[in-house]
Symmetry: C2
Subunit: 230 residues, 2 copies
DNA sequence: GGCGGCAAATGACTTATGTCACACTCGGAA
DNA sequence: TTCCGAGTGTGACATAAGTCATTTGCCGCC
């Protein structure tokens, strides 16, 4: 069904401004693909063939060290796109990408994208905004890795999760952690055990309340201060 | 003198494709400013007013920790631009920027840039490529900080310097280091002393030959292997 | 209702990195 | 030449973070 493809495209920052006709054409050329959790979409260094629109699920872009440790560069969810960088600068994929959960994507050929950009300058502008945002986050990550310790990085991660999926309750913001400590570690640049200890520490200091995989941030401002957020 | 302004603009990736007339108009509206070494162009978090084109010298964009340690996000030299991100996504400056040496820049108002983009889609495309490249490097930096140790990060830094300003000699690639160990530390995410030791180590292992602030990389490939470069 | 397996917690230990202190080198200015 | 200051080198030490091994807890499934 072409219909939900169109809807999926329209949800993205990149294509939200396209008219119905162009969307339809694009949707026709877009390939639907499904990936199971941890299945790899593409590998860093490969020649890039196109862009991925996430219809459902989530994808992480990451790098791996020789000993197998992963560092996540960014995670994108439904409505976002992956692999814009190599599509726009004609290089290889800068990171490896894998499904963070079972995921459905639309694949759009690089050439289709490039033609589209020439005909619809709005897409180029939208892409520019997307990349600018990603660059901001990337700089943030660099700062965190270099200048903050693990506890602070975890605090920042939790604050981000709270903003993304947290629910206010009478005792504070409640979060259902969908990630394992392992996954969190890969995002904040650490390892499982250290994340586990950092959690214990935050809880002990009263900055968070942990109940299994659900947790509560009693006071966002206090946690932000601890995180050294500006 | 408007003439050298035009030349300076034409040297950039962003404006190289503009015709003489548009360049002239842009040059007229561009403000020339000079900064001494370590003078600050703008501070992270400030409302962004415009874009900087580096005419001469170099500028570093960085973040600082509470205890004053700096982490450089990127360094740009003559012919490059600084602060595209906030100009294109209308936010605040993501990092603080300071002159890495005595520097001359052209300041272009954000609005001028935005108008220019609407009238000249090529600029938008060029900007896209610039940001894509920057994102690549930023991901590289994240990987290095998270998954490589200081010795490897230093090796990567030296390889990059070799490519930028190295000269081939009969004994290998020769580099004149213009940065102090302090500056290098801020770029690779470490501190002066540790960089100093890392240098000693690389030299001891025969990966580099040091003669004061000039050094030689006898075998680029070997150093690359050590750096864990793909 | 018990079994199996994955993830979390935790103690014990190692290590890379950062901190502090101090001595040394070098080049420019007077 | 001598002095000065900035930058470098290096030993001694502190510590956050990573590694390893083991236990505990939880949850789904047979």
């Amino acid at each position: 069904m072409t219909l939900d493809k169109i809807a999926a495209l329209k949800r993205t920052k990149l294509f939200e401004e396209l008219d119905e006709n162009t969307l339809r054409v694009l949707a026709d050329r877009a390939l639907e693909r499904r990936f199971q959790k941890d299945e790899v979409l593409f590998v860093a260094g490969e020649e890039a063939r196109g862009l991925y629109v996430i219809v459902e699920g989530a994808v992480r872009a990451f790098r791996v060290s020789l000993d197998g440790r992963e560092q996540v560069i960014h995670v994108e969810r439904a409505g976002a796109t992956i692999a814009e960088v190599p599509v726009f600068d004609d290089g290889t994929y800068p990171s490896t990408a894998a499904a963070e959960e079972d995921t459905t994507v639309l694949f759009i050929d690089k050439r289709d994208m490039q033609h589209l950009c020439l005909e619809h300058p709005k897409i180029t502008l939208a892409a520019l905004r997307v990349l600018a945002g990603r660059l901001r986050r990337c700089a943030e990550l660099v700062e965190a890795l270099s200048l903050r310790e693990v506890g602070q990085r975890l605090a920042r991660f939790l604050l981000a999760e709270a903003r993304r999926s947290g629910a206010p309750t009478e005792h504070g913001i409640s979060i259902n952690l969908s990630q394992t400590n392992q996954q969190i570690a890969a995002r904040i640049g650490s390892v499982r055990e250290v994340v586990s200890r950092a959690f214990t520490r935050l809880q002990h200091d009263g900055l968070i309340i942990v109940e299994g995989r659900r947790l509560i941030i009693p006071d966002e401002a206090v946690l932000e201060t601890f995180a050294g957020q500006r």
